[in-house]
Amino acid sequence: MATSHAEHHDHHEMSFWEKYIFPLDHKVIGMQYLFTGILMGVLGAYFSYVFRMQLAFPGTEVPLFGLVTSAQYNSLITNHGTIMIFWFAMPILVAAFGNYLIPLMIGADDMVFPRINRLSYQIFFISVLVLIASFLVHNGGFGGAWTAYPPLSAKAEYNLTPWGSILWLVAVVLEFVAFLLGGINFITTLMNSRARGMKMNDIPIVCWMIVLASILFMASAGPLIAGAAMLLFDQTIGTGFFDPARGGDPILWQHLFWFFGHPEVYVVFLPAMGIVAEVITTFSRKKLFAYKVVLFTTFATGILSFFVWAHHQFIAGIDPRLANIFTVTTLLISIPIAEMLFVYIATLYGGAIELTTAMLFALGFLATFLIGGVTGVFLGASGADIYFHDTYFVLAHFHYTFVPIAVIAVFAGLYYWFPKMFGRFMNETLGKIHFWGTMIGFNGIFMPLFFTGAAGDHRRIFDYSNFPELAVSSLQNLRTLATICVVITILFQFVFFWNFFYSMFKGKVCTEKNPWKANTLEWFAASPPPHGNFPVMPEVYRGPYEFSTPGRELDYWPQNEKA
């Protein structure tokens, strides 16, 4: 039955149009998300280059851009944040890896709802067009920060971008619709389409993580979509949901936004942890330490993440007594996260660690995410947040979480699954150059910014020369250092792009199905897997991390291999 199904997929040649533009195959949809996400990431990185150049050399022409006005500056930082979260981190971590990996890793031939899947990407693609259109309209793109606090975002007389702010909001809502559709698909597929014999505890962690992330997203997005509808009405037809003069309340938006916004951090964090779990187990030839603990800490994190949102609003004018409750919940969430990281570190104990590029990036994720984690404690503690709120310390903190998540872990995943995706290997030497360039550059950007933030640099400032305490050369040198490191980091990404695209067509051919000797089911499919994925639908006999099992000659034991 399964075999005939796979054959059915192959029996007619599909046109380019059918195969790549309107695909139903989960792998092609995953690739669409991946390449769109990479393109948007390039755009977001370009924005960061422009505004960092403005900060390092205020008022001079930025190469490849020109003079930066304060309105442009605001729009660049706003859209850098928006793009990197909604159009780079989410499409790659959740949609690209989710689409590509879930059916392959659970031994299914495709998603449960392939047409919904295709619709999800199509809506996502429209959201990209709407967002890009928002930069090109009269008065330019929205510049009220990615959090879009009203009244600034609600009224054109305040933000001065009458069209940019509306289109920005519409784009965000469309993107949400796309991810809700995708999420339904991931959850249903994982629950219904697992290979025969795959029990809950046999599901690879990355699949769990992407599905739990989708559940978090679906549970948290509702309030923000309601908020977005209200904001859109405030912008366009003159309602007053967030206008205090007419009985509205601007703080309401902040609650709706952060009720979504904090779980959103974990929506991208969990898939990254999943990718890292797959990579470190394979390249240390170790069973994941305490699989169930990882799952339980993930559940705990997911549930707690709904009760921490107001730590973004300690000084926003909420009742000060409320801050005490959110300090407690916020510091408590450090426990499951720390436990998860300890489990990953413990997995390395007794391993046979091979430092491939993928493994280097996975270990780099752990090393840098730890810094992002502990610096969060300063901000979760209400008393200290009074000083750090809205400074570069916050910015450095969350870049130490988001860059490991959306850049470093993504690279780990791409280097790891590249042979499966394209049937060729990436060059390891170039990969290692790329790794060290990225790690040194990344730390060089954000380490100095902890100090400028702790010295009082507040965020979203176009030019610090207006502030005597901040316009001192010691701080300016740190800002310039960060900018130089942005340029270095971006330059090292060209090594990656060369390696990635060259290897896709000319790289060393991967003849094996399972080049890394891993256990999960995607390595049982051909490289690259054909439409329908498996020649014979696999059956599962054991968990995904049975490496170095005593009494076996081989140090791995594929899930589908009969005992």
């Binding site: 510049g143 001065l160 720390a338 404690v377 300063f378 009074i386 000083y387 305490e469």
Partner: protein, 227 residues
């Protein structure tokens, strides 16, 4: 520690500094331990040909303790931080000491406006002094501020005072501070408020009692006798 980067200008700045120091020590300790263990494991368990990895499930009790002990210790650290954080928060934001003087602070795109009481030290009388982008206060005096906004969100931030509070249109938010040092301090707007956000800078001048009285006298609106 933080005072090396930004000095203390208010009575509660030291409390916030101490809290930051406690967090730095506790979280710094955990960061160093975790990084050290991570790098040690990577170094110690590099692949050597012929040496096989160990099979550890991490599900036995004596294995789990390696996770559970750090977990419990972190919980203890969290409780310590929570207690100190809430104490500082309560002192700075919840428990307002009796005001010796009250001022109004009004944010607007893109300037700060201040209303200070005149010689009578009562706000809302004829001799009030209104200024733009320059706030004058007396050292060692407990001030209450009534924070307002006329258009969008702003944030009244004085880094050296460790003082920060959003201004919200339609509300009056009350807070306090007590300057402990004379001099001129930066006031920032720390909440994105539009294209002029980066120029919304103003000055806080802390003066001795005599200097302040002189300033008040010279700025009292013409024609208003100070009762």
């Amino acid at each position: 520690m933080i005072e090396l980067l930004s000095s203390n200008g208010s009575s509660f700045a030291g409390d916030i500094n101490n809290l930051i120091l406690i967090i730095t020590v506790l979280s710094g300790f955990w960061l160093l331990v975790a990084e050290a263990v991570l790098f040690w494991l990577i170094f110690k368990f590099r692949r050597v040909p012929g040496v096989r990895a160990q099979y550890i499930t991490g599900e036995r009790k004596e294995e789990m303790k390696w996770i559970h002990w750090p977990h419990n210790l972190i919980l203890v650290c969290d409780v310590v931080i929570i207690v100190f954080a809430i104490r500082v928060w309560y002192h700075v934001k919840q428990d307002l000491p009796e005001a010796q003087s009250t001022i109004r602070v009004i944010g607007q795109q893109w300037a700060w406006r201040y209303v200070m009481p005149g010689a009578d030290n009562i706000l809302g009388t004829k001799d009030d002094i209104e200024t733009v982008d320059e706030l004058h206060v007396k050292v060692d005096t407990v001030y209450h501020f009534k924070l307002e906004s006329v258009d969008v969100l702003h944030d009244f931030s004085v880094p050296q005072f460790r003082l920060k509070q959003d201004a919200i249109p339609g509300r009056i938010v009350t807070g306090w501070f007590k300057p402990t040092k004379t001099g001129t301090f930066d006031i920032q707007c720390a909440e994105m408020c539009g294209i002029g956000h980066g120029i919304m800078m103003s000055k806080l001048v802390v003066e001795t009692a005599e200097e302040h009285d002189k300033w008040v006298a010279s700025h009292t609106p013409a024609g208003v006798a100070s009762n």
